[in-house]
């Protein structure tokens, strides 16, 4: 007895992701954000290679106004600001995204486990978070700096030695690794709390019990059934953490973790630019513009993604 439920008409062959894409496409802000980000990426990672050396010091031509060869003018050492912003973008975008990814990964898993296990486990895990929250971050960084900076040097040597990579590039890479380490350690704490709260409510839902009844393993239930359902809010929160990471990177760089001068990053540019407020505002404004533009777009994209993934919202 084939059943045709006339009261509902079901859209043919649609799928979550298809819907999501469709809804995204309808969301003006999200699409706008997407485009800005695409542009940013292509600027920083492609266009950058074609513009002048960002570290070319020219002391006689410092604070030059924008001109044909220096679009954004030059900085305190007469280096091309535009080039520096683009190259800085490489670092900052990577830092922002990777650090976020790392902390999100840890945060979700940790928070999910804590929330799902509940009871004692939960209490212990959350108290651990409290503890980590209270650890003086700077101290951690100094220790890391002391221990990891030599390490990164060795690694660079090793890679260059064995794989014949470009020394410059490798150096930049290995320098940033301890940074991610530090940021990752820091970033996931608050997130895990949020995820935990989400999971707490999700795990009461019947489909979780159904999964138990079907004899699924705890891991499977956690990763296949619970976590996918908490992604939405998590996405939004994590977009909020990106700026924090990028700014931390700046502070860490000054402590010797992260980008090695003369190379730069948005955070560093902004931090340095802030000192020229009275005199050369553009040194703050221009990098600041790129920075916040990217984050805005990222944020709207995040929101869009959340709404797009939200099945309930999709219902009508």
């Amino acid at each position: 007895m084939k059943m045709t439920d006339p009261s509902k008409k079901t859209p043919q062959g649609s799928s979550l992701w298809k819907d999501a894409r469709a809804r995204m496409a309808k969301n003006r802000f999200a699409m706008g954000g997407l485009w800005v980000i695409v542009v940013m990426f292509s600027l920083c990672f492609i266009f950058a290679w074609f513009c002048t050396d960002p570290n070319q010091v020219n002391l006689t031509n410092k604070f030059a106004p924008s001109s044909a060869e220096h679009w954004f003018g030059t900085d305190a050492l007469g280096r091309d600001l535009f080039a520096r912003i683009l190259y800085g973008g490489q670092v900052s975008i990577l830092v922002g995204l990777i650090a976020t990814a790392v902390s999100v990964a840890i945060g979700i898993v940790y928070g999910a486990i804590s929330g799902y296990a509940g009871g004692k486990t939960d209490a212990i895990m959350m108290r651990i978070v409290d503890t980590l929250l209270a650890i003086p971050f700077l101290v951690l960084v100094i220790v890391l700096q002391a221990t990891l900076s030599d390490w990164s040097g060795d690694v660079t040597q090793w890679i260059v030695g064995n794989f014949k990579w470009d020394k410059e590039f490798t150096g930049r890479l290995t320098n940033v690794v301890p940074l991610f380490f530090a940021l990752g350690l820091l970033g996931w704490l608050t997130l895990s709390r949020i995820v935990r709260a989400q999971v707490m409510s999700i795990k009461e839902r019947e489909f979780v019990e159904a999964a138990v009844a079907l004899g699924y393993s705890k891991g499977r239930i956690l990763f296949r059934h619970i976590i996918p359902n908490v992604l939405g809010p998590t996405v939004v929160y994590s977009t909020l953490t990106v700026p924090g990471f990028i700014m931390y990177e700046a502070i860490l760089s000054f402590l010797g973790l992260g980008v090695e001068s003369p190379n730069s990053s948005w955070g560093v540019l902004i931090k340095e630019g802030a000192n020229f407020l009275e005199t050369e505002v553009q040194l703050l404004l221009l990098p600041g513009l790129f920075f916040s533009l990217t984050l805005f777009s990222l944020n709207f994209l995040g929101d869009g993604l959340r709404d797009a993934l939200d099945v309930k919202a999709a219902k009508d």
């Binding site: 700077l138 100094i142 709260a197 600041g288």
Partner: protein
């Protein structure tokens, strides 16, 4: 209640101890020592001064001594960089940070919550967009940029408003604003989310059916539930606020506690460091506890009891 409290207090104690242990060994792991200086200090002097601070003892002994002194003498040691008891430093700087933090919190709530509510009520309108954009700005602009901007473009032009300094009431204005901005932004977002969640629930429709005016629906029926996520966030956030911020304090010349975290670290002032992080840890534990209690007050439903049928 009692049982719950005792549990949490016990856990808190454990947290603090773990925190102490980690911080202690981290501090030891830092390169250099409290008396490292560019001045030319003789080995004798160093040896003597180490003895003075009990740093000549073997590590494990130091590890035991510190908490012992806290419990027995109530002493957190003497700061090697400031040459005065750690207790003094905290007790003299914390009140300032507390005031600053409270004002910052006031700003955060006063700005964040209304914005959040507004954009939730006007979801997907341009108002919503604008509010969230503002929030985003708050999150994007780091305090070491906001601070100077305020100094140059606000303080310098308004007579009676000092660029920096601490003492008169109006001096609190700028720093607390700077400090509160980020939290305000987060609050705005969280509130928005929370309110939207509640607005989608049936009892809101009931309220409308009763003929409750929209504004009243928000204030009386949705706000309470909508604030829950914000409250959860405020716990640790508040602890962070009142424990001071290095950047804000140095920019606005506030004699707060935040700068000591940094100075203690850079001068290898382990006693101050331990004292501070223990204190901060204590704050976090308490705040989380308060946040949980507050949640309980806001949400009368028992946290979760399995429905029998």
């Amino acid at each position: 209640m009692l049982r719950f409290l005792t549990d949490r207090i016990l856990q808190g104690a454990l947290v603090l101890f773990a925190l102490y242990t980690i911080t202690f060994f981290l501090a030891k792991a830092m390169p250099g020592e409290p008396f490292t200086s560019e001045k030319n200090i003789s080995a004798e002097t160093k040896a003597n001064i180490r003895k003075l601070y009990g740093l000549d003892k073997p590590i494990w002994e130091q590890y035991i001594t510190y908490p012992k002194n806290i419990i027995t003498k109530g002493s957190f040691g003497i700061s090697t960089s400031k040459g005065r008891p750690v207790i003094d430093i905290i007790s003299q700087s914390f009140p300032n940070s507390l005031i600053l933090g409270l004002c910052a919190l006031a700003f955060a709530i006063g700005i964040g919550v209304p914005i959040g509510v507004l954009s939730a009520v006007r979801k997907n309108s341009w108002i919503d967009w604008a509010c969230m954009a503002v929030a985003m700005v708050g999150i994007c602009i780091p305090s070491f940029t906001i601070g100077p901007l305020l100094q140059i473009y606000v303080a310098a032009h308004i007579p009676g408003l000092k660029v920096a300094g601490w003492g008169n009431l109006e001096d609190i204005l700028l720093p607390s604003f700077t400090l509160g901005l980020v939290s305000a932004a987060y609050l705005a977002r969280l509130t928005r989310g929370g309110i939207l969640e509640v607005l989608s629930q049936d009892f809101v429709r009931t309220a409308h059916a009763k003929g409750v005016s929209p504004s009243k629906v928000i204030i009386k029926h949705t706000l309470r539930g909508g604030l829950l996520p914000a409250v959860a966030y405020l716990g640790p956030a508040f602890a962070a606020l009142i424990s001071g911020s290095f950047i804000v304090e140095t920019i606005f010349q506030v004699p707060g506690m935040g700068q000591h975290f940094v100075n203690a670290a850079t001068t290898r002032d382990e006693f101050l460091l331990l004292g501070l992080s223990l204190f901060f840890g204590f704050l976090i534990v308490v705040m989380n506890l308060l946040a949980d209690l507050l949640t309980g007050l806001l949400d009368p439903r028992v946290r979760h009891t399995r429905k029998t049928d």
